[in-house]
Amino acid sequence: MNKKYIARMSAAAAAAAMVVPLAACGGGTAAGNPNEITIFSQGATYEGTLDGYVGKGIKDATGLTVKVTPSSVGGTDRFQTKLTTGNLGDLVLFGSRDALKQAIDAGQVLDLNTVKDKLPNVFRFKDGVKRMEKLDSGKVYAIPSGVAEKAELSKGDPVNVPAMRYDYYKELGSPEIKDYWGYKDVAEAMAKAHPKTEKGDNFYALSLFGGWDGTSAEQIRSIAYANGWTKNDGINGYTFINMDPINKKVQDLLEDDSLYLQGLKWANSIYQDGMLDPDSATQTWDDYLKKAEKGQSAMWIYGYMGNLNFNPVNKDLTAQKKGYERISNDSMNVVENVSTIGGTEGWFWGVAKNAKNQAGALKFLNYMYGDEGSFTFENGPEGVLWKMNADGKPELTDLGKGDWSATVPDSLGGGHVNETFKARVNGPTVNVNAVNPKYNSVSVYNQWDTYLTDNASELDKEWTADHDGALNMKAAMVKDKTVTAFPAKNVSQMEWSKEDQVVVSQVGDVIKQYSWKMIYAKDNAEFDSLEKDMVKKAKALGYDKLVKFETKFAQEYFDAE
């Protein structure tokens, strides 16, 4: 027995010894291939070669095969370890200014100024380049994602115009909604009249989701974004303040009578009426999406939960003019950042200093910042999911209109419809809402007129008829002037010190936790005492200092031209 055991063990060890060099060889072949580049992406979940119709499109245009390495897999991020050994591939999509800065400090990104002649498409975005030069004393270590030559309003619906059951709304006689808080009465009336959905599930006035909350109850905070406030000036995202870029005002979350505190009160009053989905604080995103598809809330704070998630899976109902549509209110006021300098997501494209294939990386980057390359980001190469119609406008092909998981014929390159560059790599090069001069259209297909017309259900048509022919909420808002553009300006990048970052998380933790407790407060007395506690605790941890720090940057934005 023991001899056998040893024999087996040594056999296994021998097998191991044989496997190792073999396996180690396998990867070596890729190094230095002039027709292959590797993108290290902080925005990707896909790993491997870009194949299928997207890979074919890139190969046809640039002669390159593109491999993608995602920074994080299954919740483990390897950006810092890769940086430690200088192994960032050829092209890097940075997910934040902080990550870019770490790479600059480690000396691992190329100054693009030194290869300017190879990147005409990148350097035509002068504002974006200027922004980078300002950040890093004249060097261009990366180019922001989402740059544009001209700043324009997008055609997409603002997230924060709520969606409600449009048929129920009409049933109630299309009541006028004075301001955001007015949605409550309408939603509650709907839930009272219809305690169950068509399929027998519970129907609440409001269902919330908090699983992704960082430093506040995000959905409640976002109510302010339907009232003329924003948390992002185009360069800097703020944590504890909202800003009004038009009237140059700042409101911090915890100041007396702030919209945030009013929002908590509003949500709590729905809870006290017994009309709030009791699982709001505990459900996961999957559960929440499922509720959207079942239509279990009269109102969705993030409007797309209704018209983009319930409607497509309930075509039987939308054909009967039943389902969700965006519903505005009399005080609706959305400010939208229009930007030439990109980077509202804080994403940047850079080239690794020790790239194995620098020439290929530059070639690809230049292509993706060109008119053709940037347009393929969302929808892939022309002729597969979309084509230009007789009017010179892009429209979806049958393949593009169909099921997202459908396979693409091999003649077009193969793969699946949903394997776009956006889905696999992420990091739009040129702003997807900018009108592309070559195709005379934005690149996001669901904002194309052809799409909005072709795709309209009976319900959508009714809504359009009720809104003077507007194809979507955004079009109606532009007409009503309830959406205002504000430009991103070349202001300083806000960077927390590491110590302050710890305080930010601590304060944010307190605000987030108390906010949800307040939403679930039994009565007003409990609500008030929780509010008092929240403010006291946050301030004890250093809230005021953080607000002051952020306000300084907001002020710089207001003062800048």
Binding site: M1, N2, Y5, R8, T45, T69, G74, L308, P312, W404
Partner: protein, 327 residues
């Protein structure tokens, strides 16, 4: 003294030629009639155990039936006890993932090699730690034990592996975990409590060296504990996933877990894009959802364990009888 110990063992050895295995069963079924108390105990114990098996296994069953049921019913929470609208598209999707065959081979190899290595090292070191004659034994033992609690964090380990050439190397799966303090402690405890010192002393008087004692006396008696360590180590290796993320970029060396988790994150990202853009078409009854992928991934990783584990159990039921050892 040692002579006495030997004589204590010897008669038993002589008395039992080959009945060692049977002897155990006998000891569990004494000849005498069961008392009422024992009968009651047996019934209660059986009921309790069946109950435990149910509450432990039901969730797993729930996952399983949901992976083979109509995904739409499953998403609505309608599949509770029996599969409905059986289909295998979820599994088909997983088994058609690119690179999954290679990843499975890597996973199996790392599990087999890593387990053999770890168990062999643990058996040896655990045994050595029982050798009271060893100089500075206590210091060495504590030196090993403390590794369970010292923690340098991610980056220093990464830098070390880089120096040692372990990055993008299969060995990174099996080498760093080869010496496991936890296992050493378990083996040592087992040897001390189950293998009488007298056996070793007797053998040494017969002229056996440490190696002989280890291979001829200790190792054959360690069956149950080594089987335990093998299970622990194999499951750890099989489920391990962080090391691939951090230390491997070569896609030939990716493990099954890695490929599955990456696919899961991809599917979730895709679902989010769809949520914000409108997915378009109605979901087919067999169309995979993130939930169905999550459940299927669990099944794919756990099923092999469940299939192999019962075979490991035969090393458990063979209770040892010291007297039966031919040493």
């Amino acid at each position: 003294m040692s002579a006495q110990a030997i004589s204590a063992v010897k008669p038993a050895r002589a008395a039992k030629p080959a009945k060692a295995v049977k002897a155990k069963k006998d000891s569990r079924n004494p000849m005498d009639q069961l008392s009422t108390g024992e009968k009651v105990f047996n019934v209660c114990n059986t009921i309790f155990m069946v109950f435990m098996a149910f509450i432990c296994f039901y969730p797993f069953w729930y996952i399983f039936i949901n992976t083979i049921s109509n995904n739409k019913l499953s998403a609505d929470g309608k599949v509770l006890f029996w599969p409905q609208g059986i289909h295998f598209d979820n599994y088909k999707t997983i088994f058609e993932l690119p690179g999954i065959a290679n990843a499975t081979v890597v996973s199996v190899l790392r599990t087999v090699i890593g387990t053999v290595l770890c168990v062999a090292v643990s058996a040896f070191l655990g045994f050595m730690m029982t050798q009271t004659k060893m100089a500075h034994r206590q210091f060495i033992y504590r030196f090993f034990v403390a590794t369970m609690y010292v923690n340098a964090g991610l980056i220093p380990g990464y830098i070390l592996f880089n120096y040692l050439g372990l990055l993008d190397n299969f060995l990174v799966y099996v080498i760093p975990g080869a010496v496991s303090a936890f296992n050493i402690v378990l083996v040592k405890t087992y040897v001390e409590s189950s293998i009488p010192q007298s056996l070793q002393e007797a053998a040494e008087i017969d002229g056996a060296g440490t190696w002989t004692v280890f291979f001829k006396i200790a190792l054959p008696l360690m069956g149950p504990i080594l089987a335990t360590l093998a299970i622990f180590s194999a499951v750890g290796q099989w489920n391990s996933f962080m090391d691939t993320v951090l230390y491997i970029t070569n896609d030939k060396l990716q493990t099954l877990q890695y490929v599955l988790y990456r696919y899961l994150s991809q599917a979730q990202a895709m679902a989010n894009i769809m949520a914000q853009n409108g997915g378009g078409a109605d979901m087919a009854a067999t169309g995979v959802t993130t939930q169905s992928i999550k459940l299927t991934v669990t099944m794919v990783t756990v099923l092999p364990i469940f299939i192999v584990y019962p075979f490991m159990q035969k090393y458990f039921v063979k209770g040892i009888t010291i007297g039966a050892v031919k040493g």
